[in-house]
């Protein structure tokens, strides 16, 4: 390389790089540059800075550059790819391989020979010599859009070009670079670099390359109308657990209205029931319109498998309900009749599902009000028989059979009441609730009831059931701790036994505390009562104090509340 290379008046990146390469003292004796008369010594920093600032411009010197670059390439090739990776070599490679097209004069510069990957250039700056990636043929890739703006742009564009090549060739990104370069690190870095580049897509390039759009949007836009309607519907229902999150508005919407009532299957969870009950709160037409509208996309979107596979058995009843409800305007009576049945059915499902059902039920409750009553009697019977089938179906593993049931459920169910779809979206699958509305009491109690369903008692025993559930839940919390401490597998019956023991223990505990407080003439149980109790139990001894136990077994936050500690300002918390 003679200094004549740098004959351009305008400082292009290429020229700057060339200047750097030429002028810098070569590090190794094998440097080609050492042979050249690199007289000029420009500091290394300035060319870089200049490069960053400068814009590439077309220059008359392009042609000689190209010619020289070709010669250089040949020279490099003769040397093989074995020369060690240094920043100098990398820069050189960049210069050689980078297309010389400029922004002003876009042209397809052909890099005839495979050259070391320039992609690594940017990264190389940070970690020089780390990569040894070789670009695939860049012949076509160099026809990238406008020439490089800056060196940084150049690198990114090269990567994009490489990617574009890969896209054109239909190669997976990862494979493209992998095949070429020998080093795996290079491939990985290339792919990662590609990923990096796309993390920060250059706007003009992305505009010019629509093919680079990686993923089509997977979600459909929310139907505002349906959403608002659902909001209204849900506002009707009072106790609504707020943990429902609409997974996908459209899919569930379509699910409900579709022949595929179920939206995407729950992950790890048995399919959610999707509301079979249309939500006729507003109008039948609306539901019908929604159905028709969502049926199309729903089919496509929900093809992966409706969650409520095991609800295939309920298809019949669902159909009946679907037919009945949307057609009729409002039937409050029907909803009552259906409630228990459907609620029961839903409850069974809820064992597996969870609160998602409550939401759906609520919606259905609200929607059922509008549904017609006429269909109820038939729906009742159908629901009844569906329940039986449903119960049978529920025995099976929902996930396992979901696939089969899905298809048949999908076909069997025309459009279950997709009316209340959006809201119950919650856990992706609402389960198909043949019975639309459930009482609010049921709703509130449902989330608390993870145990077996009580079909008949759902509506009536709202009060006493409520008392039972949180108590059971609290006991089960301690039962889980028991199994944790035991470190051995346990039977279910053993856990129930543990819960009974805990119950007795709590009784005894309260009695003892009562006695202690009364003995001290107080009506409030204090900490010293507790300590006395533990002392009598043998937990607290002369050697082991209460504070030690607190420190050992309680988390820090509780310990701070229990053990008085001195703080700044001459304060003690908790105050004594």
């Amino acid at each position: 390389m003679a200094d004549s290379d740098i004959s351009d008046n305008e400082p292009t990146t290429r020229t700057l790089l060339r200047r750097v390469l030429d002028t810098e003292a070569p590090r190794t004796p094998r440097r080609r540059q050492s042979t050249r008369a690199g007289v000029q010594r420009t500091p290394l920093g300035t060319p870089f800075s200049m490069r960053l600032r400068s814009q590439t411009k077309t220059t008359a010197g392009r042609q000689p550059h190209r010619a020289r670059s070709i010669g250089r390439l040949a020279h490099i090739q003769t040397r093989g790819q074995l020369k060690e990776q240094t920043p100098r070599t990398l820069l050189e490679n960049i210069l050689l391989t980078a297309p010389e097209s400029s922004m002003v004069m876009p042209e397809s510069v052909v890099k005839p020979v495979p050259a070391p990957q320039v992609v690594q250039f940017s990264r190389r700056e940070s970690s020089p010599g780390s990569l040894e990636l070789q670009l695939p043929e860049l012949n076509a890739s160099t026809t990238l859009a406008p020439g490089r703006l800056t060196s940084g742009r150049r690198k990114k564009r090269l990567r994009l070009s490489e990617f574009q090549q890969g896209v054109d060739q239909g190669l997976p990104l990862s494979q493209g670079p992998v095949t070429e370069p020998p080093g795996n690190t290079g491939a990985s870095s290339l792919s990662s670099s590609l990923n990096l580049t796309f993390a920060t897509p250059l706007l003009p390039q992305s505009v010019q390359r629509p093919g680079l759009a990686r993923r089509p949007p997977t979600r459909r836009a929310v139907d505002v109308g349906i959403f608002l309607q659902d909001l209204q519907d849900t506002s009707v229902a009072t106790a609504l657990p707020g943990d429902r999150t609409p997974v996908a508005t459209l899919p569930t919407d379509t699910v409900l209205e579709d022949t595929q009532p179920f939206s995407q299957p729950l992950i790890g969870r048995s399919p959610s029931v999707h509301h079979s009950l249309p939500y006729p709160s507003l109008s039948a037409e609306r539901t019908v319109s929604r159905r028709t509208r969502s049926s199309g996309p729903g089919l496509q979107n929900n093809s992966p498998g409706k969650p409520a596979q095991f609800l295939a058995g309920k298809a019949e009843e669902v159909d009946a309900l679907a037919m009945g409800f949307p057609n009729t305007s409002s039937s409050t009576s029907g909803e009552d009749g259906l409630e228990p049945l459907l609620g029961g059915v839903g409850e069974e499902v809820e064992e597996r599902m969870e609160e998602s059902m409550s939401l759906s039920e609520v919606k259905e409750a609200a929607g059922a009000q509008a549904s017609a009553r006429a269909e109820e009697p038939e729906a009742h019977t159908e629901v009844a028989e569906a329940e039986g089938s449903w119960g049978a179906i529920e025995e099976k593993e929902p996930e396992g059979s979901s696939g089969d049931k899905d298809t048949e459920g999908r076909t069997a169910r025309p459009e279950l009441a997709s009316s209340t779809p959006e809201f119950p979206r919650a856990r992706q699958l609402e389960f198909l609730e043949p019975a639309p509305p459930t009482s609010t009491a049921v709703l509130s109690s449902e989330p608390l009831e993870p145990l077996s369903a009580r079909l008949p008692t759902r509506v009536q025993t709202a009060g006493p059931r409520r008392r039972q559930d949180p108590y059971k839940m609290g006991l089960s919390h301690y039962a889980k701790l028991f199994s944790f401490y035991a470190k051995m597998p346990m039977e279910k019956k053993a856990l129930e036994m543990v819960e009974k023991c805990l119950d007795k223990y709590f009784q005894r505990l309260c009695d003892d505390l009562d006695v202690f407080a009364a003995h001290a003439g107080r009506k409030t149980v204090r900490l010293e009562d507790l300590e006395l109790l533990m002392r009598r139990q043998g937990l607290v001894t002369d050697r082991v104090s209460l504070h030690v136990l607190v420190e050992q077994h309680l988390p820090l936050e509780y310990r701070q509340l229990l053990i008085p500690c001195a703080f700044s300002g001459n304060t003690v918390f908790p105050a004594q």
């Binding site: 949180p470 944790f484 051995m488 543990v498 709590f506 309260c510 043998g538 509780y558 229990l562």
Partner: protein, 88 residues
């Protein structure tokens, strides 16, 4: 609150004390009594220790019978012993 981090479990055991549950239970049983501010934490501590001892007992029972699984009769026998011990 903190999750049991010492022993890796498939199921994370929460160390949170069900304070509301404890207060409610106490209130139901003894409506004429009042519970002080942090007393339910000590009650929770008591329960933890009780359950721990119960689990130990049940485990030794099961191992005595050369059983790999804790059965309810083991639990029952252990509970009898423990309730006798924690009579107070």
């Amino acid at each position: 609150m903190a999750v049991a981090a010492t022993i890796s479990q498939r199921k994370r055991i929460k160390r949170k004390a069900p304070r509301g549950f404890l207060r409610r239970v106490f209130k139901r049983r003894k409506p004429h009594l009042r519970l002080e501010a942090s007393c339910d934490l000590l009650v929770h501590l008591n329960c933890l220790l009780f359950i721990r001892r119960l689990a130990e007992e049940a485990r030794t029972d099961a191992c005595k019978n050369k059983c790999g699984i804790i059965k309810d009769q083991h639990v029952l026998a252990a509970a009898k012993v423990m309730l006798k011990k924690s009579r107070g």
